[in-house]
């Protein structure tokens, strides 16, 4: 009961702190929505285009807060001694990590819901209820590997370097995974690179819900994401150990 209270308080205050940082949440929410309005609605080129772009930009939008929240917040907490102080307290370290993941999920859920509403109202996207729900769940659960990338960057980089490096990873990975333009219209080598990127497998799982994926096995995508997350988790654990040297 006592530990449960720690997790709840830690999560609540982490979310409150993010909410009071408009420099974080405004771009995180507005970026994917503005991108979708331009490329999914204004430049609607064919039937099914708005649905395709909804999934792509939802993936793009969900990855952002997960990576940025962890990377910048953890790097900043380290730089200012806030994480060290917490490590001396009886707070379980897992409460700190879970709280950050919870905040990322809340922001990711907001982004998904806003995109869903915008797509349904302004682009007349019509999906079956099970598709909306499945898409929502896949989008949320699939943020885990990106949160772990962010956590690792936050543990390794200074608070000034973290946001820059996240952008250096986030934006090219989104492009190379076909989140801005369909992978089918990009050069073949991009498709080859995409197979190694978590964002590609994440988006393919989401696209499979509306039947716009590349047709590969869903098990392949799930296995890749699980294996990638496990590898990241191992590196994060190693990094935590190194912090105590």
């Amino acid at each position: 009961m006592h530990n449960q209270n720690i997790y709840l308080k830690e999560s609540y205050y982490d979310l409150l702190s993010l909410w009071r940082t408009p420099a974080f949440f405004l771009p995180a929410i507005l970026f994917p929505v503005v991108f979708y309005v331009f490329f999914g609605i204004v430049f609607n080129m064919s039937s099914g285009h708005a649905e395709y772009m909804l999934v792509s930009y939802a993936c793009f939008g969900m990855m952002g807060p997960s990576m940025f929240n962890y990377a910048t917040a953890v790097a900043s907490d380290r730089a200012h001694g806030w994480l060290t102080l917490k490590r001396t307290s009886p707070m379980p370290l897992s409460a700190y990590i879970v709280a950050k993941f919870f905040s990322s999920l809340v922001f990711a859920a907001c982004i998904a819901l806003i995109l869903f509403v915008v797509s349904a109202v302004f682009a007349n996207v019509q999906l079956w209820p099970w598709q909306w729900v499945s898409l929502f769940i896949i989008l949320l659960l699939g943020t885990l590997p990106f949160a772990l990338i962010g956590l690792l960057l936050g543990l390794c980089l200074s608070d000034k370097a973290a946001p820059a490096l996240v952008n250096l990873i986030y934006l090219p990975m989104a492009f190379l995974s076909g989140l801005w333009m369909p992978i089918s219209i990009l050069p073949d080598f991009v498709g080859t690179i995409a197979q190694w990127l978590p964002a590609y497998h994440y988006s393919q799982l989401a696209h499979a819900v509306i039947g716009t994926d590349q047709g590969q096995s869903l098990l392949l995508h799930v296995t890749y994401l699980v294996a990638f997350s496990a590898a990241m988790l191992a590196v994060v654990a190693w990094r935590f150990q190194r912090m105590s040297k």
């Binding site: 006592h2 830690e10 205050y13 702190s17 009071r20 200012h80 060290t84 001396t88 009886p90 105590s244």
Partner: protein, 248 residues
């Protein structure tokens, strides 16, 4: 009087650099142990080793009667220890009340945020964000957080750096109150008058080694004051080091 901290032959290195060498140190309950030393003497390394924030080698490290086999500290032990770090900061966008409420939740029998605000007279800043209050006020909030769990052992790493005279005096009174209820306090400082005012026992740390330790009177010995004793020990140590390196 019980031993709350017992350190025997503790060593800490960062790569090839020795931060702490053969440190022996004891602290008793209901006493203030002041660890005196200039910047870079190893005071923070010592506290961080005891808190398990990094690895170290030691023949024995006993905290509140529990022998520590490695640098991992149990949740139970942590709930009996309070810490105020030298470079301590809190989330700038949370209000003082919220910070105290958060930390209070970490301790099973900790003081509530309301109690802490009342105890440390923080009413006028309770609803202000941590990032908006002055340096002295921040130190007071950090001290309140350090005693949230009613600690049996309290570490204060340079607690009054950046404080004005009034705030420093107020914090000294709070340290004396914590000592009066039986807490053992390990205070690192480079302010001699702070050690003279608060300490029952003093240890002088220089270049990672303890040069002298004992009761305040024992350390002062034949000298006029703690300041002159401190300066002599430091000078002697420097001369010994210089002559050893010349011979080498």
């Amino acid at each position: 009087m019980t031993l709350s901290l017992n350190i025997k032959n503790l060593n800490k290195s960062y790569g090839n650099k020795h931060a702490l060498t053969q440190v022996n140190l004891q602290a008793n309950s209901g006493e203030v142990l002041a660890v005196l030393g200039k910047n870079g003497a190893g005071k923070t390394s010592l506290i961080q080793s005891v808190l398990g924030l990094h690895t170290y080698q030691a023949d024995c490290l006993e905290i509140l009667g529990e022998k520590q086999a490695n640098h991992t500290r149990s949740q139970h032990l942590k709930s009996r220890i309070g810490v105020m770090m030298q470079v301590g900061s809190l989330n700038a966008s949370l209000k003082v009340y919220e910070q105290l409420d958060l930390f209070s939740s970490y301790y099973p029998t900790g003081l509530s945020a309301e109690k802490l605000i009342e105890k440390f007279k923080l009413e006028n800043i309770a609803q202000q964000k941590f990032g908006k209050i002055s340096g002295g006020q921040r130190q007071q909030v950090l001290f309140a957080i350090a005693v949230t769990g009613n600690p049996d052992l309290l570490f204060l790493d340079e607690p009054t750096v950046g404080m004005d005279i009034e705030a420093r005096f107020q914090l000294w009174q709070q340290v004396e109150q914590a000592k009066a209820v039986g807490a053992s306090i390990v205070l690192t400082t480079h302010y001699i008058e702070e050690a003279e005012r608060l300490a029952d026992r003093v240890a002088i740390l220089s270049d990672g080694s303890i040069l002298k330790q004992g009761t305040l009177q024992e350390v002062i010995g034949e000298h006029d004051s703690l300041e002159s004793a401190y300066l002599e020990f430091i000078t002697q140590n420097r001369e010994t080091s210089t002559s050893e390196s010349t011979h080498a």
